[in-house]
């Protein structure tokens, strides 16, 4: 069977097997609440299934999924920010804002600080950094996924990096 003959169900299965896990991890890096990453990505797959008759192209489908995850994460962040303003709740350093510790090349504590700082960045800066340095996208691909110009990607990336530099360089 050639790719252009996939039906929606088969496309869903193939794209799930190939990309679900990396997309969940991408979503977890974009969200302040990584626990909702799977739900966000599952919703993206459901929308893809509904629109498959218009996409019918695995490459376009992956771009669609990525954009859907980026937009979904941004939307959830916005809702969360509004809810936080209304509840004005005092929180004990929300667990979702810091990562689990595992052994790695960087110290777990230092990594937690960098990730916490990343989650505090404006959404656009965080998206640009995660897509560029985690998903290894080119500037053009980041621009497409975020729906902005390449110039704006450069600007968001530079500002985000500048904000994280003190955390990344700490202790060097």
């Amino acid at each position: 069977m050639t790719d252009d003959l996939w039906d929606a169900d088969e496309a869903l299965t193939r794209l799930f097997n190939a990309h679900y896990r990396p997309l969940v991890r991408l979503a977890a890096l974009l969200l302040a609440d990584p626990g909702s990453a799977e739900e966000l990505v599952q919703d993206a797959y459901l929308r893809l299934h509904q629109r498959w008759h218009r996409l019918r192209d695995p490459d376009r489908a992956l771009a669609y999924l990525r954009t859907s995850v980026v937009n979904g994460a941004r939307s959830r962040q916005r809702r969360r920010a509004v809810a936080d303003r209304y509840t004005a709740a005092v929180r004990h350093a929300p667990a979702a804002e810091e990562p689990s510790a595992e052994a790695g090349a960087l110290g777990a504590l230092r990594r937690a600080e960098v990730v916490a700082a990343l989650r505090r960045l404006p959404s656009r800066q965080r998206e640009a950094l995660v897509l560029r340095y985690y998903a290894d996208h080119s500037e053009a691909e980041v621009a497409e996924a975020m729906g902005i110009s390449r110039g704006a990607v450069k600007s968001h990336t530079a500002r985000g990096l500048a904000a994280l530099r003190p955390y990344l360089e700490a202790g060097r």
Partner: protein
């Protein structure tokens, strides 16, 4: 390396290490298919309501929809069969059926009543292995999920794989979460392990929620040991032990291996090898585990999937994990 490049490299490493800590549930495809079935039912009901409503007053139409819900089955309660066989996959049987989720019913996304939680057990080599169990998780809060996972871990015989076992025979009295710390209270009669290894089963299970990395147990403050020191070098994520699948079977293996070379082998009920493929997982040279996935097509029957590495010294099978499953 310039300062700017060094900053970029550090950020890459942080993001990739952080991503590796994200636990991804193994039966998400089943959850998505449940969502598809729900959407189809909604569309079918909406269509039915519209057609009936064309010739009736609004109140009458609403009543008709209610009757339709109670007495008629939608035309497609379940998604159509799905074929999922990459061209490079070995085909042992026809390629017509779908990969089913593990034996348990998937929860709806956002349902909150149950959760698919990681539960760690000791297995061969005194290493930790992970299973995912769909279990009631109270209000779905981190504390409720951790309590549910620990209670499941301590339930005698809860491990699906007969090679796995729990070293905790105990009861959870309470779990509280504050920031990145979880405090676990156990029944006063619980024997506390005196060694450093056995508490790791509880620690790894309790710290599965992103953002929680410290366990307070009595007077002790515990953290995860390095994954290289405590986790099984290789484990099979999918299919889970006793899973029932369609003919297109997705095998996911996770771990670390010399030069990242691991092997997936599937045997039929008679022990005959029907699939053997090399896959790339993480390498000890890079301190991260990694997963590999392949899809194969199998005829209905009972199988055993094995994940292992060949010894570089003598070619023997090392670090074997295996699960039994059924293709329907």
């Amino acid at each position: 390396v310039s300062g700017a490049n060094r900053t970029e490299d550090l950020l890459r490493r942080v993001l990739h290490e952080e991503a590796e800590t994200i636990e991804v549930a193994p039966d998400a495809l089943g959850t998505i298919r449940s969502g598809l079935a729900r959407n189809r039912r909604r569309r079918w009901l909406a269509k039915g309501g519209t057609m009936i409503g064309l010739g009736m007053a609004t109140a009458g139409a609403l009543a008709a929809v209610a009757i339709g819900t109670a007495t008629c089955a939608p035309p497609a309660q379940h998604p159509a069969p799905i074929g999922a066989v990459p061209s490079s996959s070995p085909a042992v049987g026809p390629t017509s059926s779908m990969q089913a989720s593990p034996a348990e019913p998937p929860a709806t996304s956002g349902g909150g009543a149950t959760a698919n939680l990681a539960v760690y057990y000791f297995g061969p080599g005194n290493r930790l292995f992970r299973e995912f169990h769909r279990i009631p998780a109270g209000d779905g809060s981190p504390a409720a999920k951790i309590r549910a996972a620990l209670t499941e871990m301590m339930r005698p015989g809860s491990a699906r794989d007969p090679d796995y076992h729990s070293v905790w025979d105990c009861q959870v009295r309470g779990v509280t979460v504050a920031g990145r710390q979880v405090t676990v209270s156990l029944a006063s009669t619980c024997p506390m392990p005196a060694d450093l290894i056995r508490p790791q089963q509880l620690v790894w299970t309790a710290t599965q929620i992103p953002g929680i990395d410290t366990v307070v147990l009595g007077s002790q403050q515990l953290h995860r040991m390095s994954s290289m020191d405590i986790l099984a070098p290789i484990w099979i994520i999918d299919p889970q032990q006793k899973a029932v699948t369609g003919r297109a079977v997705t095998v996911t293996i996770d771990g670390t291996a010399f030069e990242a070379a691991a092997v997936v082998r599937i045997r039929d009920i008679g022990g005959k090898v029907v699939v053997q493929r090399s896959v790339h997982v993480g390498s000890p040279a890079v301190p991260n585990r990694a997963s590999a996935t392949l899809t194969v097509t199998l005829a209905p029957g009972r199988y055993t999937v094995e994940g292992f590495v060949f010894s570089a010294r003598d070619g023997s099978v090392q670090n074997l994990d295996n699960h039994q499953f059924t293709v329907r």
